[in-house]
């Protein structure tokens, strides 16, 4: 590990001004991913600006209960346990609870969760080529171990997936990310936060130089209250998703009035399945309807022998998740 300077942030503005313009500087929050990367040699910052003690740790209602504003430093465990998250947006609580372990959820923060980096084995192994870690070096996952690879939106440069569960739930619920930069604050629709790899997979998000996530706003709706998150993985706990589904639904009798579907484990960013949603709105929510809607979304999916399983897994998991939500709604 390279020697580095450490500075506790005095304020959000101070943190942004200190990191902006300094390519060797990085923010440190819970550290569950970054400290591991320091050890592995995946990254070697000259300066860590510790934002973990900044007072960005509150969950509060905004606009008379229109939604919840979640501070960037709210710990994953605290967010999952928050009464309003559990009752008004269960997909968020379920996604958080399906991720990592109890200890890690106590450490990891809301913003850090969204900015965690891929768990592709080649990204984390500095002895192998990886375009995300070392641009231009090549992609080892194209021909190597590819069971966790993307099936949508990948490129010749990178075929990895985004590891966050929380991000998938927030994509489904149309969250907004509040970002502080040297020019002031801006608001980023969640769908615009993470990017596809294209020819530069070294960049995960659309955040600019020194920009700091200060909070995430999640609107409450009938659909958010009837939402959930289902994760399929190789073991029952403490594993990354093979595929995952965040879903929310509002029914009018048997007919879909509003539906949200986002997938994890399929792309370089959380994948909002808007084609599948459009195919379901105004129709009766049946298992067959969901299955054919999923197939519309997956028409452009590209699979290999190692990832072919993801297509039926997404079809089955999405159908199960949505039909169960519908049963709850009509019960």
């Amino acid at each position: 590990m390279r020697a580095m300077r450490y500075l506790p942030a005095e304020s959000p503005v101070w943190a942004v001004e200190t990191v902006a313009g300094s390519p060797g500087a990085q923010f440190l929050a819970g550290g569950t991913n970054l400290v591991d990367h320091l050890k592995l040699g995946v990254t070697a910052p000259e300066l860590l600006v510790d934002i973990s003690r900044l007072p960005l740790d509150q969950v509060e209602q905004y606009d008379d209960g229109a939604g919840l504003r979640i501070g960037a430093n709210v710990r994953n465990s605290d967010l999952a346990a928050h009464p309003l998250v559990r009752s008004r947006m269960p997909a968020v609580a379920r996604a958080l609870l399906s991720g990592a372990s109890g200890q890690i959820r106590n450490q990891a923060t809301t913003a850090g969760n969204l900015l965690q980096r891929t768990r592709c084995v080649y990204f984390q192994d500095v002895t192998t080529p990886c375009n995300k870690r070392e641009p231009g070096s090549g992609c080892s996952a194209l021909e190597g171990y590819g069971r966790y690879n993307a099936v949508l939106g990948a490129s010749a440069a990178c075929v990895t997936t985004h590891p966050s569960d929380l991000a998938v739930a927030l994509a489904a619920l149309d969250a907004t990310v509040v970002v502080l930069g040297t020019e002031g604050e801006r608001r980023v629709p969640f769908a615009d936060l993470h990017r596809l790899p294209g020819d530069d997979p070294s960049v995960d998000t659309t955040l600019g130089d020194g920009e700091l996530i200060t909070s995430v706003e999640v609107p409450v709706s009938r659909a958010s209250e009837r939402s959930t998150y289902r994760k399929v993985r190789d073991r029952a706990s403490f594993a990354f998703a093979l595929v995952s589904v965040a879903a929310a639904v509002e029914l009018d009798g048997p007919v879909v009035r509003d539906v949200r579907i986002a997938w994890g484990g399929v792309a370089h960013r959380p994948w909002r399945a808007r084609l599948a949603e459009a195919a379901l709105v105004g129709r009766e929510l049946t298992e067959d309807a969901v299955r054919s809607a999923v197939d519309e979304e997956l028409a452009d999916a590209e699979t290999t022998a190692q990832t072919a399983y993801k297509v039926p897994m997404l079809r089955n998991t999405t159908a199960l998740t949505l039909t169960r939500l519908a049963e709850e709604e009509t019960r």
Binding site: M1, A3, M4, R5, Y6, P8, L28, G31, T32, V35, D36, L38, K39, L48, D50, S52, S77, A80, A81, P83, R86, S87, P90, A93, R94, L97, S98, A100, S101, G102, Q103, I104, N106, Q107, A236, S237, F238
Partner: protein
């Protein structure tokens, strides 16, 4: 690059200069000779380095010491007061270990987990997110999934925690 930090470790105040790269685990074990938390995987996957940091279970291997100046650390060794902590006693009574290497982490994790459950925190296997927590075996297994035991003493660990939960 060195930094000066103070920690309260098992009730004793300790001050030291650490290189900014030092993990809390290495600061405890190598600098302060507090060897109760163990280095297993050193990557946050096994839980053997778990302590209670400011009252919550925490992985010291994924934590930079410099980021926790002023923190209160309680290790498994510090849980015992006049006699063993009830969770420690339950591990003894139910053979919740074989080689014992993961045990300090298991014990700290169990103490932190029982406190989370007492506060009503749900888990991945909780059916009703807004209902009360009933710490059945599935709940205990899920909540302890961050602590591995390569000897496979899980039946004893589960029995120990089940007893401690109902005590």
């Amino acid at each position: 690059m060195d930094a000066h930090i103070s920690l309260t470790v098992d009730g004793t105040e300790r001050s030291l200069d650490v290189d900014t790269r030092t993990t809390l685990l290495d600061a405890l074990r190598e600098r302060l000779a507090v060897t109760s938390p163990k280095k297993g995987c050193d990557h946050g996957q096994c839980g053997s380095c778990t302590v209670l940091l400011d009252g919550r279970r925490h992985l010291t291997c994924l934590t930079l010491a410099v980021a926790h100046d002023g923190a209160e650390v309680v290790t498994a060794a510090g849980l015992a007061d006049d006699g063993l902590h009830p969770v420690q006693q339950a591990f003894l009574d139910h053979d919740g270990y074989q080689c014992g290497y993961c045990t300090p982490g298991q014990v700290c994790s169990a103490v932190g987990m029982l406190d989370e459950a007492k506060q009503g925190h749900p888990s991945h296997v909780t059916d009703d997110l807004v209902g009360d927590v009933d710490l059945d075996d599935d709940e205990i297994r899920e909540r302890m999934s961050g602590n591995l035991c390569r000897c496979g003493a899980y039946p004893g660990i589960l029995a120990a925690i089940r007893e401690a939960a109902t005590a």
